[in-house]
Symmetry: C2
Subunit: 228 residues, 2 copies
């Protein structure tokens, strides 16, 4: 079903991989662990970070996103036979506070914020999101910074997407959810939000999870063409 | 904490990758899709099968394991640019009914069944599990074949591990759960079962999920040494 732009009153963005470029950390990883290991560490780290959000939600063993991300880093170091002192682990983790937004983020948010309410909806701790948005000067464009942390459950649990509905007091179809993560699109679609898949951030394929994708875009700029 | 053998009254096994060798399908994949593609298809297939059990459980969008496995296969074919007719997809899926058990399974189950109640606890449909255990002649050793299907939720949801407790009317610590899958060990441990990690099936590392592993073994035969 194509996007129904007339209904849309708020636009909600996933954070990591959609607005914030996790690969901002790569240069630090290369400097710290060497080029060969950095790629492998980054791959394991991101994969386990995702898996641990899903597994801990299912196990009812919530820990906050920053802690969980550190656990994923410990796994990645173990999987790559990398010894690292506590201070290095702490420094590596702190890079999460300084992730850069992709180039198309600030202009698009500035433009869209003139017409729509905008929000971030993310698994990350509120403090992480607040620091990352302030660091990138995009906080003035955002009406809401919504974190799964308040629920003790991660995406794609329906309750997380419901946070957007509640925050804006809107119906699900009045909200457009934007993510580069295909499993996140599936979750938002299952909950009933309108969905927009941002394709150019990573080489992805849509999941076989029965999702409705209402709009596919290659860059965030395309959003302003569709939504004016 | 080391295993407390005096308490154990029942032994519960994960199925795929622990008793049943999923790589039994590899020869069929090579014959059907060629050697180069077979490895890539198998890798994506298994990864998405796992991910979809977690994601669908979290999304409250349950479909049974056979259907979900077919969805994962469709993803794997798409990800590897492999065209396949419906009849090929059906044939590939039907291989799941003819998975072989690992060599150490039958002798170990025969031996342990003299002293303990044994069960399978799996995500798979009951019909899949019944056919696979009958095909390998291990059904006489099993008191129970427990499937997550009855719950409409997959491991590592606590309710799935609880099925074992309920079936045997035992306390959690009276049950030893055995799996080669490290996330499955984490789930069983979080629920409170005693856990045994079977290490030789795949190159794995324990997850950073705070699990208790009460016993680590390299082959199933070692179980008979510990549990007599």
């Amino acid at each position: 079903m194509p996007i129904d732009t007339r209904q849309i009153q708020a636009i909600v963005f996933d954070a990591y991989g959609t607005l914030l470029d996790v690969s901002s950390i790569d240069a630090y990883l290369i400097n710290t662990f060497g080029e060969d290991k950095a790629t492998e560490i980054a791959k394991h780290w991101r994969q386990k970070q995702l898996e641990y959000t899903w597994l801990r939600s299912l196990m009812h063993q919530y820990v906050d996103f920053y802690t969980l991300t550190e656990h994923a880093l410990l796994y990645a170091l173990k999987a790559t036979d990398t010894a690292a002192e506590t201070s290095i682990i702490r420094d590596t983790m702190s890079q999460y506070y300084h992730l850069k937004v992709y180039d198309d983020v600030s202009p698009t948010l500035a433009r869209l914020s003139e017409k729509y309410k905008l929000a971030i909806l993310s698994n990350a701790n509120p403090s992480l999101l607040e620091k990352a948005t302030a660091y990138n000067n995009i906080d003035p464009y955002l009406s809401e910074i919504l974190s799964a942390d308040i629920l003790g459950q991660y995406k794609p649990a329906p309750s997380v997407y419901q946070l957007a509905e509640k925050a804006f007091q809107l119906e699900s179809k009045e909200i457009l959810f934007i993510s580069s993560n295909t499993w996140d699109i599936a979750g938002a679609s299952a909950y009933g939000l309108q969905t927009c898949w941002l394709k150019n951030r990573q080489n992805g394929l849509l999941e076989e999870l029965g999702q409705q994708v209402n709009l596919e875009i290659n860059t965030l700029n395309e959003l302003t063409l569709v939504l004016g």
